[in-house]
Amino acid sequence: MARLVFLGRLEDVAGMPQTEVPPGPVEQVLAALAPELAVALLDEKVRMALNGRLIGDRGAVVLGKGDELAFLPPVSGG
C-alpha cells in the first residue's frame, strides 16, 4: 500500500489525517477518493510532496509501495 497525508484544512475535508491507498498513478488514486476530497486536493494552491520532497509535475507521479504522498495547502506559521 501507499499513503496519502492531508495537511491543514485538507484533514478536515478528508475527515482523517491520512489514509492507505493501493499504489498506482496519482490520477487513478485520486479518482478512487470522494469527489469533494479529490477536488480539494487538486486545488492549484495545494502542493504535493512525495516522501518529503516537493513535486513539480504532479501529473507524472506514480505511487509505489510504501510511498507517502502529502497534500500541502498554503502554510501559515509563526
Binding site: V5, L7, G8, R9, E11, D12, A49, N51, G52, E68, A70, L72, P73, P74, V75, S76, G77, G78
Partner: protein, 158 residues
C-alpha cells in the same frame, strides 16, 4: 550540511518552551557578540480566541527550518543563530516562535531575525488554526505576509 548551519540551533518544539530561559542561554553562549536581536512571537490575547493550534509535517517541517537557517547564515555574517518553533495546541500568552541572532554588527542581527520571521510566517511547513466559541477555523496566510516576504527578493543583504 553547509558550514554555516553548524552554528545554528534549530528546534521544532512539541511542548511549551521558556523563551526567557532560551534567550538567557543564547546570550550566555555569545557573550562577545556586538549585538543580539531576539524575536518572540506569542499567542495574542484577542477577542474570543481560546486556543491556537499549529500543525507540522514531520518529514518536511524541521528540514525546512534547517534550510532556512542555512539561508540566513549564508546571507548575513552572524556569530550565532537560534530558531525555535512550536507545534501543537497553545493558549493565549504561550510562546509560538523564538528567533535569536547574534552578530558583530547590529544591522546584520536585525535583518537576519526579520528575514527568518518573514519566512517562518509564510514559507515554512506549518498550518495554523484557531479556536473560538464557534469552533476551530483554519488561518490562511494574509496578503501582508507575502508583501513582507517579497521585501527580501530584490533587496541587498543589508
Amino acid at each position: 550540511m553547509a558550514a554555516g548551519a553548524e552554528m545554528a540551533d534549530v528546534r521544532l518544539a512539541l511542548d511549551p518552551f521558556d523563551p526567557a530561559a532560551e534567550i538567557a542561554a543564547f546570550n550566555a553562549a555569545h557573550p562577545h557578540a556586538g549585538g543580539i536581536v531576539t524575536f518572540l512571537g506569542q499567542v495574542r490575547l484577542t477577542g474570543g480566541v481560546e486556543a491556537l493550534e499549529l500543525k507540522h509535517y514531520a518529514p518536511m517541517t524541521l528540514p525546512g527550518m534547517e534550510e532556512l537557517a542555512r539561508a540566513v547564515r549564508a546571507r548575513w555574517l552572524l556569530e550565532g543563530l537560534s530558531i525555535i518553533h512550536r507545534s501543537g495546541v497553545m493558549r493565549p500568552g504561550d510562546p509560538i516562535v523564538l528567533v535569536c541572532a547574534a552578530a558583530r554588527h547590529r544591522r546584520d542581527a536585525f535583518a537576519a531575525a526579520d528575514f527568518a520571521m518573514d519566512h517562518l510566517k509564510s514559507q515554512s511547513w506549518f498550518w495554523k488554526r484557531e479556536k473560538t466559541a464557534a469552533g476551530w477555523r483554519w488561518i490562511e496566510p494574509r496578503a501582508e505576509d507575502f508583501t513582507d516576504l517579497a521585501r527580501w527578493d530584490h533587496s541587498a543583504s543589508r
